[in-house]
Amino acid sequence: MSGAMQPLAAEAIAGKVAAGARLIRWLEDGDPRGRAALRDLYPHTGRAHLIGITGPPGAGKSTLVDALVAEERQRGRRVGVIAVDPSSPFSGGAILGDRLRMQRHAADEGVFIRSMGSRGQLGGLSRATFDAVLVLDAMGYDRVIVETMGVGQDELDIVGLAHSTVIVNVPGLGDEIQAIKAGLMEAGDIFVVNKADRDGADQTLRQLELMLHLRTRHPSGDDWQPPLLAVVSTRGEGIAALVDALDHHASHLHDSGGFEARLGSRSHHLFLGLLRDGAARRLMEQALDQPEIAALVEAVRSRRIDPYSAADTLVARIHLQP
């Protein structure tokens, strides 16, 4: 790529916090300057260990992240955190409360914490989470931790984003097996029972252990055996073991070529997603003006043709130029 770098991109790569923060804002808001900066940042990404923290609401994910940041800092690593909270489907606004539990790191220049509203996305992340991860990676943070919204079902975007996915559970959520559906069991690289000083922790650990024995292989065909750890985030208990497990997983990925492979598949999916969105947008922009479309809409409304056949009629006419 020739020409001068986007000025904020250059500042972000040099580690300037305000520049990186503004780039994330542009990417989140769909500002075209964000895309231009990302082009310059992209060659500087791929170094950070990306860690996903997910689990049901109330599992103590934010407090776990807080403890994790403290331990990573002890080990001399710079840490970026992205915490996603749900946006209101009614107003579009959000109260982003995850940061509240991590605020003791606010005076630490080696920590960057960003709160994001889901802005209408399901699956525990926002549309711009991946972009924000790239910015923090390019800024030189050694670890980038992404805390998802409380999920517990199969909507698990984090798996496509992180090198290491940590599934957090707690005793006493009722039927724990319900909270950890098959998708989560297959996806996790490390399993944590938080609040392990509570009643029922042993039972939760036993249930998880059983499910891990029954677990099918990781979708990538990896032979990693996911560890199961008991932690008490509020007291920092078990956190050193969790960071050890994360480090172990990172070296496992490096040794097996999985570190780049996971990044590669993530970029591949992003590319396909962008292609799909872009192609659909271009087609729709050109198509919606045409009277033929209006006629088909009317035909569907009056039940002369079903919606599937109507769409197929038009899709069959799309041709790529050679």
């Binding site: 305000a18 409360g97 509240l100």
Partner: protein, 138 residues
Amino acid sequence: MPQRPIRVLLAKLGLDTHTVGVTVIAHALRDAGMEVIFTGLKQTPEMVANTAIQEDVDVVGVSSLSAGHMRNLPRLAKLLQEKGGGDKLLVAGGVIPEQDAPAIRAAGYAHIFTMGADTREIITFIQDWHARQETTAP
């Protein structure tokens, strides 16, 4: 269609431990379509400035219900300037004696919402400011 919610940081400086007012405001702003981040209690100006920069908020609202505002509020404004956050709207609220108001405004606070301010007044103030920013942006 890009969505661009206004982002607001609500902060409590010093030893003040009152949270009811800030909670009410946070919900009102959320319902007006804004993304609201709360720092929690007992923050230093350094922590609030770092948070505002990292979160790249448009607005920093500082509530003070205890003494210390004459030291903390100007310090926060100065730190924001130094760290590259000089473009943010700064507003203050809570118990700020009338005689202190000119100094707080001179430090860079666009408005001081006193006790009993209606949340609609706060929302309108922020939205009007934001609309002016959008029209003057390059």
